[in-house]
Every structure is written in structure tokens, then in C-alpha cells.
Amino acid sequence: MQLFSKDRMWRHHDLKPSYDVVIVGGGVHGLATAYYLAKQHNIRKVAVLEKSYLGAGASGRNTAILRSNYRTPEGIPFYDASLKLYEQISEELGWNVLFSQCGHLTLGHSDSSVAGLRVRSENNQLLGVNSRMIGFEEVGKLVPTINISREARYPILAALYHPPGGIIRHDAVVWGYARACDRMGVEIHPFTEVTGIDVENSKVRHVVTCKRRIATGAVLNATAGWATTISRMAGVPLPIVTHPLQACVTEPLKPFLNVVIVSATLHVYLSQTDKGELVVGAEIDPYQSYSMRSTLPTLEQMATYTLELFPWLHGVRVLRQWAGICDMTPDFAPIMGAASEVSNFYMDVGWGTYGFKAGPISGKCMAELIATHTPPSLIEPFSATRFETGRLIGEKAAAAVSH
């Protein structure tokens, strides 16, 4: 019996002179789009170009929280469709992505935050998403070790409970899509940086890389935190600023937490992995930056707020801390669509601190848009033209901090 498979996850290729579609960015969004282009539209002359290793961006650095309890009528069905795809993806890819639907709790510590959660629970229920308000006593039953004391600095008043939310193995998702793409003939090119984009008569003709220049029929920008740098090469302005986001992981502990906890008031969110480590995330660094180095003040903040919720964790050691970069939009909603300035330049950007959960449905919808030139109705509201028409999609209350 062969214990370890000798199969390669994806093969090496030399870059060809031309492709039908070039995808910039080897994270979950770029790879999911390539997967659906090949699988659903039989477009296989596709190259995914990644300047580093696959998952080097936010897709390999996130806290892997999946949920669909958003706030707006545009966001809720979109993220819910993604969650449903994630429920099937292990089976579909033949590759275990360790999706654990352990449930998700967003804590409210003030009247205004509880009012915001209530709006979400009503909107969620109207649109068929399993989501409801619970009191602090029920929070204490779901998480017996949490501090529900009325004497806490910010006592927990109530919570939005979203049972289908949970945690996934982010690397497995990236690798699973890349492997499936490779099996269908899509080329995966790690360590291939895009350095320029040639536009003629409002169309992209070539993509310049560190290896060679390639001709292409269409380009997808799926570079998240780096989105502006690629967009600028095509001459397309973006309403995006890049901010770092940090997280940390503790030493493994006995299982004590089997639900994801998020608190916007305390600027913190946490979950316990199958190995027992506590994964803790912070809010974005308070200044624009492309730096992926973590900082001591943020570690202190994560520790302080975790201890507000679980004071007995005070002696626990931190194993690692890291940062990724996030492409923040003015309304905390993504930008998906073709650029109005350059018709075959497609954008799947603005994923901020919340885009991992959207990978599968964005990939599916972007592939349909590239193949048919018509945006599926699920992503139509997320076009960049909303900044001209003023139809912004206010997801800040449901997307900031609570990734």
C-alpha cells in the first residue's frame, strides 16, 4: 500500500505566448474563477499568475471564518450562496477542506450594537438565513467559559446567533482549487509576477510578467490587497485603500470553545482549532500600508480584549502572530465586474477583511461574467458604477471587525 500519494498537486509549465484568460493573483478568488471557467464554461486556456507561492496573500493568512449573516439585501443572498458552495466543496473537489459548521456568535455590548444585530437578524430571516438574537444567558450556555458577568467592563447584553457559520481550513481550499484546476488543464504559475499590462484601444492585449510577455483575450485582477497596483497598470482607478490586518494563534488548549465568537465593541474575534489552538484576530491597522509585519500594540490589543471575554486565559502563550493586507472599499462591499474604461479587464477586488468566505461564489459569478459578458444578477449590484450612481451597499455594520 502506498501511504503517501506521489501525485503532484499541480504541474509546472513554461509560460505560453498566449492564453484566453489570464488571472492575476493565486488566492482563493483567482483560483476559484479559473476552476469555474474550466468546469462550467469549458474555457481551459487559462493561466493563473501568482508573484509568490499560492496562498501567499490573504488567502493563506486569514482566520477562516465563514458566515452569511450580513446586513444588506445584496450581501446576504450573495454570501449565503457562497456558504452553500462551501458545504459541498470537499465532495466536489475530492479534497477535505475541514469545514466545521460549529456556529457563529456576534456579541452585542451596547444598546446600539444590539439594535444593529437585530436589523441583521430580521434581514437574515427574511432572506432565509438561519440567524437569530439570543440573550446573554443563552450565550453562557453555548460557551460556559465566557465571562457573562454583569460587572464586566462591557457586559455581554445579547448576541446574534448564526448556526451555519463556522471555520474552514483555508490552505486546503486554495490547494484543492489549484489541484482541480490543474486536472482540467488550467496552468498554475507560482513565482510569476505581473509587471505591466498593455492596453490598446480600450482593450488589454498583453500582460507583461517577470518571465515573458503574453497575449490574452481577458485579464482578471484578483490581487486583493495589491489590487490598486494591478489596476493602475491598466489605467483603471479604484476606490480602494490597503490596510494590514493582524491575527495570532496560541499554544493548544483542551477543547473549550466550539463556536466562533466575534465582538465589534472589543475589536476581537476568536475560535478554537481542531488542534486546540486559539485563533484570535484584530481590527485593521489604523493606517494605509502594504507591510506584512505584525506589531506589538496589536498583539497587546488582541490579548487585552480576549481576556475581557475569557479572563482565565491569562497565562496562555502566543505561538505566532502575523499580518496580511486588505483592500478596503468605502462601503465595505466588494467590487465585481468589467472595467468601464477597459472592456476585457475584469475586477474581483475590494475583499477587505471578509473575502475568504466569498471565494466560491465570486469565482462562479466572475467565470460566468468572463465567459458570457453578462454579469449574473447576484453580483450586478457590486459593479464599480455604484460609486457613480450613489447606490452604495452599506455593509460596514456587518463586515468591520466581524470577518
Binding site: P237, L238, P239, S289, Y290, F387
Partner: protein, 86 residues
């Protein structure tokens, strides 16, 4: 990475004493078109490299400063009061 901002009033101080105020940009003229105003309202340069920014020294002299910073390394090359020669 955390870094220091060289405040012209207070000297080199932790970035956590300051509030970030975004990119320094040119306000459109009153005759500007709707498209120019939209561009000003939403679009950003978001440079991966050198950029000039607003910073408010919240826990210091409480003055708005402009700083030239490398957004990849976070090194602040210099900071000055708005309108001052640099």
C-alpha cells in the same frame, strides 16, 4: 510594522500617538465636473511606495502634519507642518 513619525514639534514619536488622515490630495475647483468630484470623493492613489499623507498628533502637539512615507517599509522620510517648505 510599528514605526516612528518625526513630528516637527515633538520629535520622533510612536505612530500610535497619531491619527492617520489619508493621502494628501488636490481638492477639485468649484467648476469641476461631476466625474471629477466623484473621482475626488472615492478613488485613491493607494501607492505601494512613497506617498504624502495627513497625520494628526493626537497625543502630542495636536497639530495636523504632512508626512512623506514609504507604505511598503513604513519608513517616514520626513514630516512638516502643512504649507512649510520641505
Amino acid at each position: 510594522m510599528s514605526f516612528l513619525v518625526p513630528c516637527p514639534n515633538c520629535g520622533r514619536r510612536s505612530v500610535y500617538e497619531f491619527r492617520f488622515g489619508g493621502e494628501v490630495r488636490q481638492v477639485p475647483s468649484l467648476e469641476a465636473t461631476q466625474a471629477e468630484w466623484q473621482n475626488y470623493r472615492f478613488n485613491r492613489t493607494n501607492a505601494a511606495g512613497i506617498q504624502t499623507e495627513w497625520w494628526f498628533h493626537y497625543f502630542g502637539c495636536r497639530q495636523w502634519l504632512q508626512a512623506v512615507r514609504n507604505t511598503v517599509s513604513n519608513e517616514v522620510l520626513h514630516a512638516y507642518l502643512p504649507g512649510e517648505k520641505h
